[in-house]
Point group: D3
Chain length 139, copies 6
Amino acid sequence: MIYICRKEHFNAAHKLYNPQWTEEKNIEVFGPCCNANWHGHNFELIVTVKGNPDPETGFVIDLKKLSKLIRANVIEKLDHKNLNVDVDFMLGKMASTEHLAIEIWKILDPLISAVSKAKLHCVTLYETPRNFVEYYGEE
Amino acid sequence: MIYICRKEHFNAAHKLYNPQWTEEKNIEVFGPCCNANWHGHNFELIVTVKGNPDPETGFVIDLKKLSKLIRANVIEKLDHKNLNVDVDFMLGKMASTEHLAIEIWKILDPLISAVSKAKLHCVTLYETPRNFVEYYGEE
Amino acid sequence: MIYICRKEHFNAAHKLYNPQWTEEKNIEVFGPCCNANWHGHNFELIVTVKGNPDPETGFVIDLKKLSKLIRANVIEKLDHKNLNVDVDFMLGKMASTEHLAIEIWKILDPLISAVSKAKLHCVTLYETPRNFVEYYGEE
Amino acid sequence: MIYICRKEHFNAAHKLYNPQWTEEKNIEVFGPCCNANWHGHNFELIVTVKGNPDPETGFVIDLKKLSKLIRANVIEKLDHKNLNVDVDFMLGKMASTEHLAIEIWKILDPLISAVSKAKLHCVTLYETPRNFVEYYGEE
Amino acid sequence: MIYICRKEHFNAAHKLYNPQWTEEKNIEVFGPCCNANWHGHNFELIVTVKGNPDPETGFVIDLKKLSKLIRANVIEKLDHKNLNVDVDFMLGKMASTEHLAIEIWKILDPLISAVSKAKLHCVTLYETPRNFVEYYGEE
Amino acid sequence: MIYICRKEHFNAAHKLYNPQWTEEKNIEVFGPCCNANWHGHNFELIVTVKGNPDPETGFVIDLKKLSKLIRANVIEKLDHKNLNVDVDFMLGKMASTEHLAIEIWKILDPLISAVSKAKLHCVTLYETPRNFVEYYGEE
């Protein structure tokens, strides 16, 4: 078993705001992250896949294909978008990095299994170079 | 003469949209950057100051003071904000990295001259790790 | 379960020197790292916490609070300090990156459990970009 | 148990080409990576070792010794070389990052056990900043 | 006047070898860089353009267009190629980073002037993170 | 004319302390940087040399030779040292990054001219990733 990783990026706007709370409570909990007119980030996404190298190619998975799959199914939906408004799978959810990483997992997990014998192992998502999350599925 | 640099960062939302153009022309020119619901970036700002080291401190300028000055006068106004809507000195201007760097220069240039014998030399502004501008004032 | 990470930094002096050894043995084992007048590093510290996102905030832990907790209890004691002389919890210990990461774990583990339902998962400590350690507690 | 990491680098040429396939199939599968006249990369190698700190040194393993061991046994054989032609342990294998990481593990695992009580834990190999693999041995 | 920069990358093989010298002299001067079977690098290319922002777009030059122009005219010819063998504009020249940066300038300078009022200012080319060149044209 | 750069690194301890001032004034001006027991940094040094490529080698200067020259004459004197106590050319000077860059220039400028037709152009010195200086000689 070996783990192979592909890094992609996207730029998006979001805010952290709980509509069931008062304005005061939102400001108290989220501070500048609940700014009504949004803020944004350059997100970095690392997708880790595990499997055994194919003897004919030496590949666990073809990274060009993995890159295309991530771009078509995740980056296209997030890049230059508003996470709270424009992204169907984030509607009704707090637009935290945690939730976004979990939703990216849910999209990629079946797609990777469908096109290869390899399995999704981890979704790592950097909101900033100092704040990031790792999700390994429901374990 | 020696040049000394301080790097700061902020996260902001923006869009590129010319209100005097049709929707079609905006999409043609700006592509996904004119998304109505905004997108955003982790900006990195490098401020370069030039001068001679003070013999008593060894400093061209005290970087702790320069950092505070940048944070109070630039970062506070930009971090977790919308460049098109929330930032007084960007109102009515295209929210491009070029314009933002020029406006940051206009703010910092007199402030640095007021607190030290050193002079602002360059404002470098990274919108992404691959897209950035440098501004040296009106020369 | 999801893992969330916060990166902080500090600058400190140290030396590697075993007082129960001769000068010759110290030089033989530690080389330039035992220089009598110290040397130093820009340390980078990554604290990883694991838990489930709170449904109201979307957070495993509020990273602003985690950052404050790390700064107040770890960075304050280490930044611009001498690890061998100025830092109470390192006195009498070899000032290796390994020992420092273990002591940082001992400080943060109960504090994180006290303020949230999340648990400390890993302390990663970079002494240089090429030399670093990871500690997951006594497992 | 604590994990300690050392990062090294090397520059090498390679191509991905299966000699049992037609030219067309190679181009279809490997695209520009099968360019007849080679291409190359700046590889970054991270070697992670696990163990307990020695009470006299504070070290799991002396990173200066680990660095020398990696350089003498791995970097010397790969740096400024052609992975398909010049490297004995890659002959007859597809020159993928996966295979290279596995072969580096096979070289380092017995050597690290021979010189210390610590054990090799992981070989991480970056082909580019966006494409990399992790290998933890035959588990 | 403001300067705007776009960073692109490519992976290529090369060797440093002067065919008018003996094998011994090549080894003496170029060391492992003259390895007969090539080695390679992940090159990073930064193209800096200078001009005034267009009042309608806020752009000195549209970075999406600049990126396409660099990719079509430079990256396409270099990526996954052998600089000594596959690249027409390097034939007969020593494949040093210096020469490559100068040739990239010669390609881009007229193309940028043809599509915009902005001017090429600098070509920066990283062979490795520690070795790089800057070329400002024939000044 | 083309500019070629080599990046090296060293780890050192220092403090900022003016012995002609009271303890109070030192603390007021330098804050934690005057900690009596020192602190330290991973310094990054970039040396930029300008000249014309030699037609036989394609080099402005052989970067392997430049690296050796920097290591023998600068890094050896600074790495794992105390800038205030151990370094002859810093004795009696404030150990600021500005002064250190100027002294490195004074060492390297004649040495580079002695071994090549190229000239030293710039010394860039990073104290931290956010604080750095550039020195171009007495111009």
